[in-house]
């Protein structure tokens, strides 16, 4: 396994991990920069969520429907719409437990659900093209998943890379606000925290 150190957290490039067959061997080890810190959490860590981030490093404006299966076999879509190269990134926070995560209908991976609109007006629709990420195999509670779209040479250069940021390797204490702990607290106060989730509710 190839690791990069990021704020004291080990970021595992899925391409080398034998336990993550779907993404094996396909990640650039230099994909994740190393930074120092520990001020704020970047991923949920010990809180009952998974962070799914979409990054647009292309010259197109993207529409990406993040698909989530909460355990009943149905896909719930969280659409990231009109993500321009300037805006660059946006993320969905999914409550734990979750069974599968991907793009589009998780049972229809070849539907052309990712829409890319280029500066000259060209619009292309492309499929996710692979099976969903599976909880317990490809990710677990507290992790971050990154869907990185790259390619600035038009539609033919459009590429997708997928990375996992293990929450277990993230520091548990932060000098700044613990964002996801705050999130857990708010949801608990509103009675929206899933009973099966384990988390700290004290802010």
């Amino acid at each position: 396994m190839t690791n990069a150190t990021w704020r004291g957290t080990t970021v595992r490039t899925l391409g080398v991990c034998a336990l993550l067959p779907i993404l094996a061997g396909c990640l650039n080890p230099r994909l994740i920069n190393s930074t120092s810190g520990g001020i704020y959490p970047a991923v949920p860590g010990d809180q009952p969520f998974v962070l799914v981030r979409v990054i647009n490093n292309t010259d197109a404006t993207l529409t990406v429907p993040v698909g989530v299966d909460e355990g009943d076999g149905e896909t719930i879509l969280h659409e990231i719409d009109q993500l321009s190269p300037a805006a660059r990134e946006s993320a969905v926070i999914v409550g734990w437990p979750v069974a599968r995560i991907g793009i589009g209908d998780l049972d229809q991976p070849f539907d052309p659900v990712i829409v890319a609109t280029y500066p000259d007006g060209t619009t292309v629709s492309v499929p996710y093209g692979q099976g969903p990420l599976v909880a317990g195999v490809n990710f677990t509670q507290g992790d971050g998943i990154v869907f990185l779209f790259s390619g600035t040479g038009g539609p033919a250069s459009l590429r997708l890379s997928i990375a996992r940021v293990p929450g277990s390797d993230q520091p548990t204490a932060f000098s700044g606000r613990d964002t996801f702990q705050i999130l857990t607290f708010i949801l608990a106060q509103n009675g929206l925290l899933m009973e099966t989730a384990t988390a700290q509710t004290t802010p």
Binding site: L27, N28, P41, D81, V92, D105, V124, S150, D178
Partner: protein, 151 residues
């Protein structure tokens, strides 16, 4: 769930996903030689600013939030939340402004009256890295209200 593709001239291309392009063990330096754009690195965010929509009503609600980044880039978030549920989005901390544009309920998207006063929070002063913008929808249709707070 069906996904509606916009009515534009669309060309379905078999996008090159890494797993379908000669993996495993692809040499990162080889990517450029194959004609694709080499992925060198991405910047890991310093933290997150979270937008949380909590729907304490029995009906579907949708809250539209406009995110403006420090570089002027914008993201229109249309956050749809089922009854008695929540949805949360996150952005990198380089946010200049978050603005609640509108809130609606039901599939017909009937408007919810927003509270008076400015419904935008400025990055850095109104909301900072690591914080959560909580948007709570309460009430019974058609008498729904929106409450906002930054944690």
């Amino acid at each position: 769930m069906r996904y509606c593709i916009p009515r534009t001239a669309t060309v379905v291309l078999p996008m090159c996903v890494a797993t379908l392009c000669g993996c495993p063990g692809i040499n990162p330096d080889l990517v450029g030689q194959l004609g694709g754009s080499p992925v060198s690195a991405i910047n890991v965010p310093d933290g997150n600013i979270v937008i949380l929509v909590s729907n304490l009503t029995p009906t579907l609600v949708t809250v539209d939030v406009q995110v403006t980044k420090e570089n002027g880039g914008t993201i229109p978030l249309s956050i749809e939340v089922r009854g008695l549920s929540y949805s949360a989005r996150a952005q990198d901390c380089d946010v200049q402004q978050l603005e609640i544009v509108q809130a609606t309920y039901g599939t017909a998207r009937r408007p919810i009256t927003l509270p008076p006063g400015p419904l935008s929070v400025a990055g850095g002063t109104g909301i900072g890295c690591g914080q959560v913008l909580s948007i709570v929808v309460v009430g019974t249709p058609p008498d729904l209200t929106v409450q906002t707070q930054v944690f």
